[in-house]
Amino acid sequence: MSVENAPVVDVDEAAIPVEKKMYYRFESNDKKEFRVSELAIQQSETLNRLVEAMGYTSEDVENKPAIAIENIDGKTLKLVFQWCEHHKGEAIPVDDGSVPKIVEIPEFDAKLMDIDNGLLFKLIWAADYLNIVQLLNVSCKKVANMAQGKTPAQLRRVYLLPSDEEDEAAKRAAQEAQDPRAREVEEEFEERKRQGGNSFF
């Protein structure tokens, strides 16, 4: 049936129940406030559980203080909520254990993540902390793409990977920073292991 031939039905708009959209207020650690729709929040398992547990009404949202997210700054949280609003209502991917993961970065996400690596680091940290699976996937994919065509030597520079010697030095420094008695016990334990003992006592 063409659009022209479709029957015209008069609709009493007043009779249609209008579902009021629920928004929540969040505050970053540098006191920036954001209003985020309930549907967008569902992309974050952490925030979704939090607002469910709080059981806020629309009035509560307006009258009570904004929900504080104490370890994410405003610049990062803005990106997070922009992403959640854009992808609200989309299914949350389930990890099927496949390696490598097949993830395409959509155009919107690519533009959103056209940021310096410092902010990208914070975005990944936030996506992980707030448990936003697909945002974590696309942001990690962007970091994984930095490895394309790189040799091991280049990867060390790209990802700032310490050498074995640097790892050993860091381990030694951490041991030295321990309580001296704890270190003595550990050394004694290692010595006994070397001598073939399988029990410390």
Binding site: V99, K101, A144, T151, L155, L160, L161
Partner: protein, 181 residues
């Protein structure tokens, strides 16, 4: 070249980055340090087959999935009698038929590269060791034995034009195979 502090991410996020890498990038990452090797091992990668071909070149093939192979060319223009030494040497890495890079590696030998591959793919054996060029010098057998020393062999493949002398020596040298083809 911009940098990103991957190790400063949480384990979960850092692991997610590695899982999104292509096979050759995971291999490159695993070759960066002991810690990076362990990180790749933790991904529980697997392969259905690893084979080691000795001809006028030495090629290790890792079957990633039905359509994808990771090929590691250990020696290009090889004089097998003077096998590549334990210092820096170059490997060529290909994904199926596409060359993805030439890597200069220090602290690795052909033997440690082979063990590294078996280790990161959690593969218990070398599925096939094949000598597939009649021009392979007799003296190549011993260096190859050193490379595969301690590795279980699925099959030993010796192509027909190899001399009887070469074949019998190879059979005596590589005794721990399950099948001779």
């Amino acid at each position: 070249m911009s940098s990103f502090p991957l190790n400063k991410l949480s384990n979960n996020a850092a692991k997610s980055v590695l899982m999104h890498m292509e096979p050759q990038e995971k291999l490159a990452y695993s070759l960066c340090s002991k810690a990076s090797k362990n990180a790749v091992k933790s991904l529980n990668l697997s392969t259905s087959m690893i084979k080691f071909e000795v001809g006028m070149k030495i090629l290790v093939t890792v079957q990633i999935d039905r359509n994808t192979e990771l090929l590691i060319l250990l020696a290009l223009d090889m004089n097998l009698a003077s096998f590549p030494p334990g210092q820096d040497f170059e490997i060529r890495v290909m994904l199926s038929s596409t060359e993805t890079g030439i890597w200069s590696l220090s602290k690795f030998t052909n033997q440690t590269i082979l063990h590294h591959l078996l280790d990161i793919f959690h593969h218990p054996r070398l599925d096939d060791l094949s000598f597939d060029d009649e021009a392979i010098p007799f003296e190549a057998i011993e260096p190859i034995r050193e490379v595969v020393d301690g590795v279980k062999l699925g099959s030993l493949t010796l192509i027909w034009p190899l001399t009887d002398h070469f074949r019998s020596r190879a059979i005596r040298t590589f005794q721990n195979y399950e099948e001779l083809t």
